[in-house]
Symmetry: C2
Subunit: 277 residues, 2 copies
């Protein structure tokens, strides 16, 4: 599929992608760049990495595909940095959890960029946790701008599909609205529940069971990465919080007013949705 690809920032996602491509014979060579010398040395010890570079531009030279796998705030700065050394044929994508801001700013760099959001991962981070099957069966959204070529969209679709992902396409704005609801809001809620309970008697948590643990698992995510995601998707996230607050308020009101019919109706609506997941 590819002669050579470049992974910028090979953490959990980047290294897993490289591993998945190499294991399937989908890229002959994988070049990598990381800001940290330690990560570069670690990458060289892996089976998926053919060469590491001290500068991102050097790492991109000669690659048909560049995948930016760094935290969302650094994607556009990196894009600006590598832009002068790319050929018009090089296809660039990323794995960021937000898309509107990144795609809008990518347009200004005049590189051949199409945003991707492979919705895989875990609370574990870093190259050491990389797995070739990380993406298997998960959803991936790609968010081409109007000027993207059909051929490049098809190549990117094929890339994620080849490693087992269920690929769909939408605008960057629609992507951000969707993930604000199905990913960022659940994260915020779990995090708020945890920070609220953190202020309570510390012995209570010894009494908690699998329910609380499952409900709050996502709150273990890296605060620095999540802060970036929330700030990049600020408006959609704020809208999603407002909607959720209204829903919770309606349930509270039903309980307060002893409106059993409404209380049960809301619990049933919730159960039906959950059962359909």
């Amino acid at each position: 599929m590819f002669q050579q690809i470049t992974i910028l920032g090979p953490g959990l996602l980047g290294a897993s992608l490289a591993l998945a491509l190499k294991e399937r014979g989908l890229s002959q060579k994988v070049h990598a760049w990381s800001r940290r010398p330690q990560t570069r040395a670690q990458a060289l010890q892996t089976s998926w990495c053919d060469a590491v570079f001290e500068s991102p531009s050097q790492a991109c030279a000669g690659s048909e595909l560049v995948v930016i796998c760094t935290p969302v705030e650094t994607i556009v700065p990196l894009l600006e940095q590598i832009a002068p050394s790319l050929t018009p044929q090089t296809l660039i994508t990323d794995v960021g959890s937000t898309k509107s801001l990144i795609c809008r700013e990518a347009r200004g760099t005049h590189v051949n960029f199409i945003g991707s959001h492979p919705m895989a991962g875990s609370e574990q981070t870093g190259m050491a946790h990389a797995r070739a099957d990380l993406f298997d069966g998960a959803a991936c959204i790609i968010t081409p701008l109007d000027e993207a070529s059909e051929l490049d969209i098809a190549r990117l679709h094929q890339l994620w599909n080849a490693i087992g992902m269920d690929v769909s396409t939408c605008t960057p704005e629609k992507h951000d609205e969707i993930v604000a609801h199905i990913s960022h809001l659940p994260h915020l809620i779990a995090s708020s529940l945890c920070s609220y309970l953190a202020g309570k008697d510390s012995t209570w948590k010894q009494l908690s069971g699998g329910g609380l643990r499952d409900s709050t698992r996502v709150a273990a995510g890296d605060p620095t990465l999540w802060k970036q995601i929330l700030e990049q998707n600020r408006e959609e996230v704020l809208r999603a919080i407002d909607g959720f607050e209204n829903e919770l308020h309606a349930l509270k009101t039903a309980l307060l007013d002893q409106n059993t019919l409404e209380l049960v109706a809301q619990l049933e609506r919730g159960k039906r949705f959950r059962d359909s997941l």
Copy 2:
């Protein structure tokens, strides 16, 4: 440990308790009562059940321990029904998720009642899902009234401990405050998140991953049972919702005001709590 015990309402919890006691040789005989003839017939087919009865009073005759395992709203009515046929030596307990109202009303029946809340279970319900190891390693709270005898408290402690539970004791009121926070609030939040998302584009959920599934697992619980639990623990639940609403509002405000320091501080507080679970 016991010559004979009675399980009133052998669903998931009651049948699992009977199974656990029988497998460990902790009760020679187990008598059972269920409202439904079908459940009585089913119980007779199991290894843990020695006899079933059409009336709860008959089922209690001659037992040293009676465990009421029916939905919380029906615990006190059952207690009132069986009271005349119990001896002063019979120890009665339950497995209800709320304790204040039940223990307060149990006092009026003048039976030898001590509330229990074994915090085990799953979204699966019914006798067919019974497992002898359901309680293993989970927490159990017992909530004796002031007049309970030390001997009976010790017997009940031993009972739950013998099937692998980590037993603690507190007042019914403190129990209800604790579970409002660590169990009922997480349930309400998951349910509200699901009922909110139920109103959105139905294709979005195909894009969701393990994060949303884990966060909302508890929302699959039985709405009729949960409605009873929430109504019985109304005041504490309302207080817990208020506290959570304030916490979520603070996070929303930090995001709205672009107060990055506060946003990260709250995410970090949440992560620390989650990591400590």
